[in-house]
């Protein structure tokens, strides 16, 4: 082989070897930082989202980086330095307001119009992601609080799920007398579990209309309906409804007690559907889920609406179209069905119409029913407000610790609500309260 042939063959080889590299370079990267996920669920995200998205979008290369439970702190620092991911995954609307105010997020109005998000998503969520008249965020998943119970155990005892607070208390008293812990509950692994119960009583006893008024600053948190609600929650604690080991049990350990009959009911969130198959079939028990009972004058059920996390696009993103395409892919019927078949409770995207969604075999029918009932309730404006979604950060943080002080007798209901109100009014004046959508 002469010198020219060597050069030609070498060039040809180099071109062949560099072709995939050139193709990869043609693909614009889309980065997304995700929180913690088990290896199994990371594999689900790879096969159900990353691979099909990259195959369907020749110009984009999606990659997910798992950042663990401290994602929100890392994200804040990264956004501040303008070095965050393209798809911004925040812990909730309260963070979106601050990030949007700081100019760290891209308005999504044009994408919402061109990709038809306004027609496909429940309108309340579009309001929630709106800041200063522009859409900045969409919820990745929404959730609610309700009452899980053990159908088998209830049938054995001749009990029916309560629909009013007096019915709930009568049933809980019966359980206590029988040596059963009325509420399967524990906060050893997640202290903000406390606020689940505060959210429940604010919405189901004080009522969502009052909560909405207080969130808009029209009435103080020290108003009578809230006093009554917190007093009720405290009375439940003092009577022992939460059991002797609330501060020692993890959420999952507590939920397991429901399947075995050691505990009677679990006032908790729809995210616990992912634990149902782990604990109920081995105990030969069938799970049930209903809306939490309502107090006097409050419609039943009220589904307190929670947003675990939201999607936005970084203002500094070099590939905003790719990031919007990822978000759009997540809001497809196909992805909803596929993801909720393998991973329930964490991917309940706010699709307006779930009739086009097909869940795989093996998915608990109860899950589909609960999500359908929730979507209908939200569409009919019969929803409440979870503290972690609608309350500003310092108020929310105070609720988590403050309610423990009430339970443990360090402060009174009045003290708790006074400090809650003072913290809230301060944050309201600073514009830190997320948008409260109008109620129907």
């Amino acid at each position: 082989m002469n010198k020219t042939a060597w050069i030609l063959s070498g060039t040809a080889t180099a071109l062949v070897l560099m072709a995939p590299l050139a193709m990869a370079q043609d693909k614009a990267p889309v980065t997304w930082w995700y929180e913690q996920a088990s290896p199994e669920n990371q594999a689900n995200l790879q096969t159900l989202l990353v691979d099909p998205f990259n195959a369907a979008n020749a110009g984009d290369e999606l990659s997910i980086d798992y950042r663990g439970s401290e994602l929100d702190k890392q994200l804040r620092v990264a956004m501040l330095s303008g070095d965050g991911p393209d798809v911004v995954y925040t812990p909730g609307p309260a963070y979106v307001a601050a990030m949007a105010g700081a100019g760290q997020l891209l308005p999504l109005d044009d994408f919402a119009a061109s990709l038809g998000w306004k027609d496909r998503l429940l309108p309340v969520f579009l309001d929630l992601g709106t800041y200063d008249g522009h859409l900045y965020a969409l919820p990745k998943t929404y959730e609610t609080l309700g009452l899980f119970y053990n159908k088998t155990f209830f049938a054995e005892n001749g009990w029916t799920p309560p629909t009013t607070i007096p019915e709930l208390e009568a049933l809980a008293d019966q359980m206590l007398a029988a040596g059963i812990v009325p509420f399967a509950a524990g906060n050893a692994d997640w202290r903000p579990t406390n606020e689940h119960y505060v959210s429940i009583i604010l919405n189901s006893i004080a009522g969502p209309d009052n909560v909405a008024k207080a969130l808009r600053g029209e009435i103080p948190w020290t108003s009578e309906p809230f006093v009554k609600a917190v007093d009720t929650l405290n009375a439940w604690w003092q009577k022992g409804y939460f059991g002797p080991d609330y501060f020692s049990l993890t959420g999952e350990q507590a939920f397991a007690q429901l399947a075995t009959g050691a505990a009677g009911m679990a006032p908790t969130g729809t995210w616990n559907f992912e634990n149902v198959n782990t604990y109920f079939p081995p105990a030969n028990a069938e799970p049930g889920f209903v809306g939490f009972p309502s107090g006097e004058g409050v419609p039943n059920p009220i589904y307190a609406l929670g947003i675990g996390s939201t999607f936005s696009i970084a203002a500094t993103s070099e590939n905003p179209d790719g990031a919007a395409a990822v978000i759009d892919y997540v809001f497809s019927n196909e992805f909803y069905g596929a993801m909720n078949t393998v991973w329930q409770g964490e991917w309940n995207m706010p699709l307006r119409d779930l009739s086009g969604v097909t869940l795989g075999e093996g998915v608990l029918p109860l899950y589909g029913e609960a999500m359908g009932a929730l979507a209908s309730a939200v569409n009919a404006n019969q929803y409440g407000y979870t503290t972690w979604t609608f309350f500003p950060p310092a108020t929310d943080s105070y609720i988590v610790s403050g309610i423990e002080e009430v339970w443990l007798g360090s402060i009174t209901t009045q003290d708790f609500l006074t400090q809650l109100d003072a913290t809230f009014q301060q944050e309201l004046s600073e514009g830190k309260v997320p948008t409260i959508p109008p109620r129907g």
């Binding site: 929100d72 804040r76 601050a98 002797p244 080991d245 049990l249 943080s397 610790s401 002080e405 443990l408």
Partner: protein, 281 residues
């Protein structure tokens, strides 16, 4: 020319410590949520901390924590180190056993105690409860939570002190120890008149460092109780963390951090004084 050797460490200190420290001091005078534009509020953050009953609870807990760590692990470490010195056999084995908890990652140690010892469901405490012993998880009781966390940190920490003290004790002149033995000194007399005076600088150094570390305590408290229940185990660093990352009040967090640093500075002053005295000697 030899001063150039200081440059690399000086540069690292400026970038990693001095600049962030100056920024933290500046932020203590601003109202900032960590995202938007900071607003200058003078001493407002300090005034708010002064009026915050949780701040005083946290400060009190830090002082209790310091008291615990100035006494119990130092006493345990001294006692065990002296025994290692006196007992001629098995010293290496016991040193390894005592030191082992120090090298286990904090999170693992904390989770072991939380899940395998204190838990009423999966822990030793639960097993003993089933046998009829009236034990409760200390982390679940406001009156005991701080001590429950301190116990875990003590278990993890005292072996380090033991090894440090043992190393120091081995530097005590053998003639003094032999002379005391020949004179018929008891174990406690040996401690009181020979060994403790012999390692006094090491003990003082460890006590000063304990004060500094006690005001920085964060990891075990955060993992085991996050300052609860009902703020009963809150310390200044968990308070600062909560302010910064949950309340989105970075200014108050910075103010709390400055107060933590003030205690550290006082201890550092004494440390430097002791060091320079030793240098003079």
């Amino acid at each position: 020319m030899h001063r150039l050797f200081l440059l690399p460490t000086l540069l690292i200190n400026v970038v990693v410590i001095l600049i962030p420290a100056c920024l933290t001091i500046a932020l203590a005078f601003f109202n900032w949520d960590g995202m938007s534009t900071p607003h200058f509020i003078g001493f407002g953050n300090f005034v708010m901390l002064w009026n915050d009953r949780i701040f005083w609870r946290a400060l009190e807990n830090n002082i209790i924590w310091t008291g615990i760590f100035l006494t119990i692990p130092i006493a345990m470490g001294l006692l065990a180190a002296t025994m290692l010195l006196v007992a001629r056999r098995g010293g290496t084995f016991f040193q390894v056993i005592y030191f082992l908890p120090v090298v286990i990652a904090t999170v693992i140690t904390a989770r072991i105690w939380q899940g395998m010892i204190y838990s009423p469901v999966t822990g030793v405490f639960g097993y003993l409860q089933n046998l009829g012993l009236p034990l409760v998880n200390p982390l679940s009781k406001p009156s005991m939570a701080l001590y429950g966390v301190a116990t875990v940190d003590l278990w993890h920490w005292w072996g380090f002190l033991c090894v440090i003290f043992f190393a120091a004790l081995r530097q005590v002149p053998q003639e003094q120890i032999e002379a005391a033995r020949i004179e018929g000194a008891t174990f406690w007399q040996m401690m009181r008149y020979v060994l403790l005076p012999g390692i006094r600088p090491t003990i003082i150094l460890m006590m000063i460092m304990t004060v500094i570390w006690s005001f920085l305590v964060f990891d075990f408290v955060y993992i085991l109780t996050q300052g609860g229940p009902a703020f009963s185990s809150e310390v200044l660093s968990t308070l600062a963390y909560r302010k910064a990352f949950y309340d989105l009040n970075v200014g108050q967090a910075a103010a709390a951090s400055i107060i933590i640093s003030l205690f550290g500075l006082v201890a550092t002053y004494f440390y430097i004084r002791v060091q320079s005295k030793e240098g003079e000697q």
